[in-house]
Subunit: 234 residues, 2 copies
DNA sequence: TATTTTAATATGTCGTACATTTTTATTTAA
DNA sequence: TTAAATAAAAATGTACGACATATTAAAATA
């Protein structure tokens, strides 16, 4: 057997085991949000460990939003908001290149999937807003050395599209993926002006299609537009 | 002002404040994965709090995968995998209805966005596999009382589609969204057989389109197929 | 009976201590 | 002088005990 197949011995710390036990308990107890949990001392006694260790395990569930504890009263099962945990770790500097690329791809898929909603739910005001963004973008593009401003308009344009969708989940996703996207963007394209604007399909093209074209046109153009950012998905 | 606008006074616990301070420190210190962190006692001294409190705050970052600690050696910045945190809280029983619906929608958007990839990357074997799933599904549908089996085939079919995409992020998302999806499904449609199979567009239709149609056809049919599950997105 | 006081409770925070293992420093041997 | 063996220091993980504080329940009082 190849040595690369050898996995390091899992040296689970005691808190890890406690966490596992608690997870099993939570799964099996069929608890619902709002239900009370046993007290810390009870849990500690039941598992035969110190309150310190129990508290650290519980802290993990609290961090994930699975449980909530109210001072001096007790702990109870909570309803976690999955995106919150997601958002907290969306720091571009921390993510490794694989994860960055994953998030990049994810954004592209969402952006394409969003086309349907955008087309379906667009209003005159939405178009007007996007038009103003594109106007400003094109005006800025004529003057040199305005990368930061260009990036801002790029964000504004795409954020505007997500807002049209009216889908909160998408909007939140976009909000957290955007910084990651921009970070990767700068990393791989040192000259943003050239990269942002040299699109096969520009924001102006997209906007015109949104106004006068069909949803299929729009999606197709969006795909071409995004291909310029990143060619892994085509 | 409406009383509903009143938010409860935020009574931040000390650990919350410590967490905030640590977050600020991490943000400002420009640390990269692999960089070492100050020792617990140093942090405790710097903030003028006990080691217990510091440890609990650090535990939160550890839980999120932002830091890693190696016993007897020290702590360092890590590269979090955002999906891990996501997966951990994807327990349908815990999520509230709003979140459930968000996840539902998210899956639908991903499924539509995935169509492009599926069409582009499908192979003969993929088609063969999907065909076998659909065959079994249809066979089962003729006999009564097989909801669980039908659901399994439904999952197999859609999972198969994601696998074709070759996009790991999508696959992982699908894997964690599926239980949530199925849970909501059962919750809202007590008779799965009727709901699963009474599609405007069946799995068989999708498969045929995947074999002989165009990507636009496929996407369009997928949208109709999914509409039957959930009509919020159309 | 209604109100006030008291007591019990549970989490949050603190301090200390020690186990264990890695790292560093020191001592010893060749 | 260098290398090996030994000792010391260091850092996280775990445990225990204590107290603060605010809530809830119980008891006492008007």
């Amino acid at each position: 057997m190849k040595i690369s197949k050898l996995k390091p011995i899992e040296t689970l710390t005691q808190v890890d085991k406690i966490e596992q036990s608690l997870q099993d308990y939570l799964d099996s107890a069929n608890l619902q949000p709002g239900d009370a949990l046993p007290k810390e001392v009870e849990l500690a006694q039941a598992l035969g460990v110190s309150r310190t260790a129990i508290r650290e395990a519980l802290s993990r569930f609290r961090t994930l939003g699975i449980i909530e504890s109210r001072k001096n009263r007790g702990m109870l099962i909570a309803s976690p908001d999955p995106l919150v945990n997601f958002e907290r770790v969306m720091s571009p500097k921390l993510l490794n290149d694989d994860t960055l690329r994953d998030m990049f791809e994810l954004r592209l898929v969402l952006e394409v999937g969003n086309c349907e909603l955008v087309f379906k739910r667009k209003t005159a005001e939405d178009i007007e807003y996007l038009e103003s963004v594109v106007d400003k973008e094109e005006h800025t593009a004529q003057t040199p050395k305005n990368s930061a401003v260009l990036i801002k308009y790029d964000i504004d344009f795409h954020s505007g599209l997500y807002k049209i969708s009216g889908n909160d989940t998408l909007i939140r996703f976009q909000k957290m993926l955007m910084p990651v996207f921009m970070y990767s963007f700068k990393k791989f394209h040192p000259d943003p002006k050239q990269s942002i604007l040299n699109h096969e399909v520009s924001h102006r093209d997209l906007l015109n299609t949104l106004k006068k074209g069909t949803v299929d046109d729009f999606r197709s153009k969006m795909k071409k537009h995004l291909r310029n950012y990143y060619d892994k998905i085509s």
